[in-house]
């Protein structure tokens, strides 16, 4: 594929000089007689070579595997699929075998003809291992046949692709060369093409959102076809069981998520809000210039660091206070392990302090000075002004900031993966380990996962729930903040 791209680049470069030269010749060597600057004729050639060719290449790369896959799947007879397996698993065997054969050919160990003559009677696994390619399972005749067809179709596809893309690129050169004439509006053409590229880049944001929603939606639908939705939304327990028949209810996870987030907000909101009030209303420029960036460092520290801090420092410290029976500081034995709701909540609260403080700081600063002056004029002290005038005026914005912090808390992963524990339960005791939506997504999707079992697919349903939850909070927060801003501008 790389040589193909290099050839396209070379054609584009050649096209640049050819088109430019032809335009100059047509103007009799005087660039003032051209409609556009000479280089625009060249750029026009570059664009008409590269854009269609690369676009065709990209589409081909996406479509060919799908077509090959679907026609190879049809070749595999239903009885060749063993009990407890699926066509997808067979297909991955086929793909692996085909890749193994390709690798053997590529390494020069065998020729293409030898590969075509292979039959399942040969011990393929040993045969490939001899040639430095390892495959996992024994090869059945159906798989071998499918793999041969897979290789053939792919080879055919590659040849077709190269020919098609090269023809397209050559046509581009030819077309641009013929167009390059003094009267041709090369700049307008180039500029509208560049603008199209800019639009394409901007719409990638929409594409990403659509990708997120679709990738989770399809798997979620698969999940609900394998598992009753009533259990997911209204069941009481979370007990995944890889032999099947699991309880997969979101409620205990949602409870853990919300409980930890509430503790985190209980830490972050008072501290962050008072810090913001002090920084914007009391602090002198020097204090403000040092304290504000220092607090914001807390937001720049990667969450894995907070996770480790929770697991190895805060957790053991809490155990020392609330656990260990007689040896502990309080002489009680309420906490057994370092992971707990309180551990994760406290650490997450620390992480959220700068979120609350800098957003609230901006919002408090946006409250017009005239409101404060009016209040001072009536004889109110500074704190009375803040409590009775500034904060009520800034309240919608502060609520927005708190909602944004809450959405961060709900979606936070590393702190809870390391600090909250893995036991799904609904309980009010903050010293117990509980688990959250994000931790379960990580644990269901890491390791060897089988994408046909509800135990794995549930992660996509959890992810979609999480996405909808945080999106709702964000939209609400942005709406509130925006509405508030309009009041004073």
């Amino acid at each position: 594929m790389l040589p193909l791209v290099i050839v396209i680049a070379a054609l584009a470069l050649g096209g640049y000089f050819l088109a430019r030269r032809r335009a100059m010749i047509s103007a009799g060597g005087d660039s003032r007689k051209l409609h556009s600057l000479p280089s625009y004729y060249g750029y026009n050639a570059v664009l008409s070579v590269a854009v269609p060719a690369l676009l065709a290449l990209g589409i081909w790369l996406l479509v060919q595997p799908m077509l090959v896959q679907s026609s190879v799947v049809e070749m595999i007879p239903a009885q060749a699929v063993p009990e407890g397996s699926s066509v997808n698993l067979i297909m991955s065997d086929v793909r692996r075998l085909a890749e193994g054969l390709d690798a053997a050919v590529g390494a020069g160990a065998v020729s293409n003809e030898e590969v075509a003559d292979l039959t399942a009677a040969d011990d393929l696994r040993a045969w490939l291992a001899e040639r430095g390619v390892a495959i996992g399972a024994e090869v059945s005749p159906e798989v071998l046949q499918a793999a041969q067809a897979y290789r053939e179709m792919n080879a055919l596809g590659h040849v077709g692709r190269n020919v098609f893309v090269l023809l397209l690129a050559l046509a581009g050169v030819l077309l641009a060369y013929r167009e390059s004439h003094a009267d041709f509006r090369a700049r307008n053409r180039v500029e509208s093409a560049v603008k199209a590229l800019l639009i394409l880049a901007a719409s990638l944001a929409i594409l990403t959102t659509v990708g997120i929603v679709l990738s989770m939606l399809f798997e979620t639908i698969n999940f609900f076809s394998l598992h009753p939705w009533t259990d997911f939304f209204f069941g009481a327990s979370w007990a995944p069981n890889f032999r099947g028949d699991s309880d997969l209810s979101i409620l205990p996870l949602l409870w853990g998520t919300l409980y930890i987030s509430i503790i985190a907000l209980a830490v972050a909101v008072p501290i962050g809000l008072f810090a913001a009030i002090y920084l914007s209303e009391y602090a002198g420029p020097k204090v403000r210039a040092t304290a504000k960036p220092l607090l914001e460092i807390l937001a720049g520290i990667p969450t894995i660091v907070y996770g480790l801090f929770a697991l190895l420092t805060v957790g053991p410290a809490l155990v020392k206070i609330f656990g260990r029976g007689e040896d502990g500081l309080l002489g009680v034995d309420w906490m057994s392990g370092a992971t707990s709701v309180l551990t994760a909540g406290l650490v997450m609260g620390i992480m959220l302090i700068p979120f609350v403080s800098s957003l609230s700081d901006d919002i408090i600063n946006a409250v017009p000075q005239s409101l404060r002056d009016g209040s001072f004029g009536l004889g109110a002290t500074q704190s009375e002004t803040i409590r009775q005038v500034v904060i009520p005026a800034a309240l919608p914005g502060i609520v927005g900031a708190v909602l944004l912090a809450a959405s961060r808390a709900i979606g936070e992963t590393m702190i809870v993966v390391l600090g909250a524990g893995a036991i799904a339960r609904i309980s009010g005791n903050p010293l117990e380990a509980m688990t959250t939506i994000t931790t379960r997504i990580v644990s269901q999707l890491t390791g060897d996962s089988d994408f046909a079992s509800p135990e794995t697919l549930v992660a996509f349903a959890l992810g979609l729930t999480l996405f909808v939850l945080t999106l709702g909070l964000n939209v609400l927060a942005l709406y509130i903040v925006r509405k508030y801003r309009e009041q004073y501008e």
Partner: protein, 451 residues
Amino acid sequence: MSDIPNPAAPIADPRGASLLVQDGRTKRRNAAEGRFKLYGIVAIAIGLLMLLTLLFTIVSRGTGAFQQTYVTLSVPLLEEKLDKNGNRDLAEIKKVSTFGYAPLTKAAFETKIAEAGIETSLKPKAMADLLSKDAAAQLRNHVLAKPELIGSTVEFEFLTNSRVDGYLKGRVSRESIANDKNINAAQLDLVDALIADGSLQKRLNLNFITGADASDARPEAAGMGVAMLGSFAMMLVVLVLALPIGVAASIYLEEFAPKNWITDIIEVNISNLAAVPSIVFGILGLAVFINYMHLPNSAPLVGGLVLTLMTLPTIIISTRASLKSVPPSIRDAALGVGASKMQSVFHHVLPLAAPGILTGTIIGLAQALGETAPLLLIGMVGFIASNPPESIAEGLMAPNSAMPAQIYEWAKRADPAFYERAWGGIIILLVFLISMNAIAVLLRRRFERRW
């Protein structure tokens, strides 16, 4: 008219108190004022205290990882063991596995004890257990690098077992090893004797910064180097993709986009994407890049693609801000001398906004460098990243770890010796983040223009 009080009449406090003495209510109000201010100071103090605690914890627990305990032994590299035919053919020397080197290290250890005149009741095997399980492999790599050493006796610094290392760093004490199968008190006596002899000591551990990860049983040999390369490969992908796409998108939105509902949707989308939890991007990467497009699992390329999608909103937001800060008079002047709209943007506005764009990009990259959650889902944890990639293509496509993923991996292992590694890894990660942010701040100071 009668409302105007007689100016000559004395102003009487309704409560009959003097102006010079605060009455109870004023005192209460002033006290409330002081308290309120105090709350603010306390809140900031708590925040800063947390920051200090965090940094102190990281530094105090992590610096240990940059030192490692080594024992110096003189090893006779016997020709009959390592190169039977004596022709110094590297391929033949490579056939001797680490098991062939183990007896040499063991014998060297025994000789050392005998020479130093240390009395011990330990059997040779128990003595050799003080060495790392990696010691023989260390020696083998050294010999493979310099085959001419075979036949001579070399002074070589061997890694010691992580328990011995912990003993020197104070993590392991004689009390704490009561239930430890890996070390006993007699072995610690031997360690003390070797320290007195001067052949066993702590020194700088460069291998931690440049080396590869090691398996569960050899925490003393684990390093960050390979994971660092994985992170660099990902950052390369992010830079190559996110910067051009982000800049292109912002130019369109800021300079060309008409005010209509499509533009509105794009803008709302971008601000929402900036707040989507990072793990959701991991799910997207798993579903699209790995399950649908069949890109290799755990490859930095996939990690880079996921982080690109995650960083794009950050880059777009900061790029738009710096495009916006270029005054319209620049655009007008360019248009006035006959430039097209596109020329005015690419020739004049973009170069003037470049420092701001660069700053935003560096900050976005720093964010991506520390991100862990999406990497868990695309499989960049759970294996040992032991071989550094040999080419750029391999660096992108071959399974690797990344710095934060490596830290997570170490944090999950049960041995406390790995915790020290994890904290040390955090120091390395933070050094990168701090220097990236410092560069961003310097760039801003140096090049930012106020119009």
